[in-house]
């Protein structure tokens, strides 16, 4: 059994799986049941001045029979008074002293407001704070959430105010609704953040009803943008985590969030620089018990790889993530169709013919049977045929060796520049 314990900026938990601040962490009843199920930590539903929610607040994207590929909400932060939450947090921490209990906070961008809530929350014995600069709807209209999370100066200033009084580690939760998340991540670090977490939800409109012409969801015939999350956002979140992890001036631990449903998703985030992960949509879809599979899967994976501790995985793939200009232009892969596996559905042929490089030939063998064959020399190795192929193993993308040395775009441009200078001399 591998060691699954993590230490994120001083916050310790028995495994890297935390509940994200969201409906599953709304109350002591829920968080305690989550801890019974095995969750290593929980970020409580964001605390602040209790809000008023609308009814009809969630919607989901189902795709081709798969439910909840994406999830959308227009819910705000907690609608319960601070004292009620604090009492339940105190009891939860007392019952589960080994789990990480984090308070998510959101108040107006005023120094005294931050000081007040930090002091009251820390008094009940939380292990850390998470500043919610990410909620994209409702709160943003009031200058909170992503409205302040999109302005680096406000992120830095508010983080600084919190750090003036905080005695526990401070995690800054970032909004993905920004062109370059490293700008706000860096601002958080400048403000003194001990860690950052990402992503919160992405601005979204889930759909429009074709009969009523109402938005989905709608509130008495009106809609407003919500926040998008769930499996569909994972690639966006993973890139943002990786971009922060490889940034030279963002040297704080990262808590990875966004579309994580399985231990495999979690491992990807950890390899790309996250010290632990947080989960919301998958729990809303399947309940707390998914953590059992996550713990078991991660354990097996680490044992199989001979890795003693999950902390040894953190960031292992970050050096593999670079800029496009550092990729080798002379590396080549090509598609190869395995005739004994192919079911002749023609999907790859159509894809290559209509949308790629027209290099799959439809041929006839000596017995008059048709088959498909890739002209490897014309194949650009785009992967499209293997992406659309419905049969596992029918198409392999194989490396094609050539005599050319590795050459990146950056090296090429530098060489051409040097060459021009040399000949101008």
């Amino acid at each position: 059994m591998a060691d699954l314990r993590i230490n994120l900026a001083g916050i310790k938990s028995p495994n890297p799986f935390w509940l994200a601040s969201a409906p599953p962490t709304n109350s002591g009843y829920q968080v305690q049941r989550a801890f019974e199920a095995g969750w290593g930590g929980a970020v409580w539903k964001t605390l602040g001045e209790p809000i008023l929610n609308v009814s009809s607040r969630f919607a989901a994207l189902h795709f081709n029979g798969q439910r909840v590929v994406g999830f959308n909400n227009i819910e705000l932060i907690t609608d319960r008074p601070l004292e009620a939450n604090l009492q339940e947090m105190y009891e939860t921490k007392k019952r589960f002293p080994d789990r990480a209990l984090i308070a998510s906070l959101m108040v107006e961008p005023k120094r005294e407001k931050w000081h007040e809530i930090v002091k009251r929350v820390e008094a009940v014995g939380v292990d850390g704070l998470e500043l919610n600069f990410g909620c994209p709807h409702g709160m943003a209209e009031r200058g909170m959430g992503s409205a302040s999370g999109q302005v680096p100066e406000l992120v830095e200033k508010q983080t600084y105010w919190v750090k003036e009084v905080a005695t526990t580690p401070v995690i800054v939760k970032l909004t993905p609704n920004i062109t370059d998340i490293t700008a706000t991540a860096e601002a958080a670090v400048k403000g003194g953040a001990d860690a950052i977490s990402m992503i919160n939800t992405i601005n979204s409109l889930m759909g429009v009803d074709l009969d009523t012409w109402n938005t989905i969801p709608h509130v008495a015939g009106k809609g407003a943008h919500g926040g998008y999350c769930g499996p569909a956002v994972k690639p966006i979140a993973l890139n943002m985590v990786a971009e922060c992890a490889r940034h030279p001036r963002i040297r704080v631990p990262i808590s990875g969030i966004g579309g994580i449903s399985t231990w495999k998703d979690a491992v990807e985030f950890i390899l790309m620089g996250a010290t632990g992960v947080q989960v919301c949509t998958a729990v809303m879809h399947h309940g707390f018990r998914i953590v059992e599979d996550m713990i078991e899967g991660l354990n097996h994976y680490l044992d199989e790889k001979g890795i003693a501790s999950v902390m040894d995985l953190v960031g292992k793939c970050v050096p593999n993530y670079s800029d496009w200009g550092n990729l080798d232009l002379n590396y080549k892969v090509a598609a190869r169709i395995n005739q004994d596996v192919c079911i002749q559905c023609n999907k790859c042929y159509i894809a290559c013919e209509d949308a790629s490089h027209q290099c799959i030939d439809r041929l006839t063998d000596d017995d008059g049977k048709t088959y498909l064959k890739v002209r490897e020399e014309d194949c650009v190795g785009c992967n499209l045929c293997s992406i659309v192929c419905p049969v596992d193993g029918a198409i392999d993308m194989v490396e094609i060796s050539n005599d050319l040395p590795p050459m990146t775009w950056n090296e090429r441009q530098a060489a051409l520049q040097a060459f021009t200078n040399y000949h101008l001399k």
């Binding site: 232009l329 014309d378 090296e411 090429r412 051409l416 060459f419 021009t420 040399y422």
Partner: protein, 73 residues
């Protein structure tokens, strides 16, 4: 751009290099790359040749040759 076009362009580049030409100038624009080759003839006069390289793979290929030429300079 087909493999044949790449081969054709690569062959032309290789032929000139084998004949003792070296790449002198590279101009890249919307129409691809224009390579100017030079060679000193026996009579001491400079001879030049220009190739218009269009295929992506041949544009990668001549870049490798430019880098090699720089490294050997």
């Amino acid at each position: 751009m087909s493999y044949e076009q790449f081969l054709e362009e690569k062959t032309k580049i290789d032929e000139l290099l084998q004949q003792g030409y070296s790449i002198e100038r590279v101009v890249e624009n919307l129409d691809g790359a224009f390579l100017q080759f030079v060679r000193k003839a026996r009579d001491g006069k400079m001879k030049t040749q220009t190739l218009h390289i269009q295929s992506a793979d041949a544009r990668k290929y001549f870049s490798v040759r430019v880098i090699q030429q720089l490294n050997n300079a």
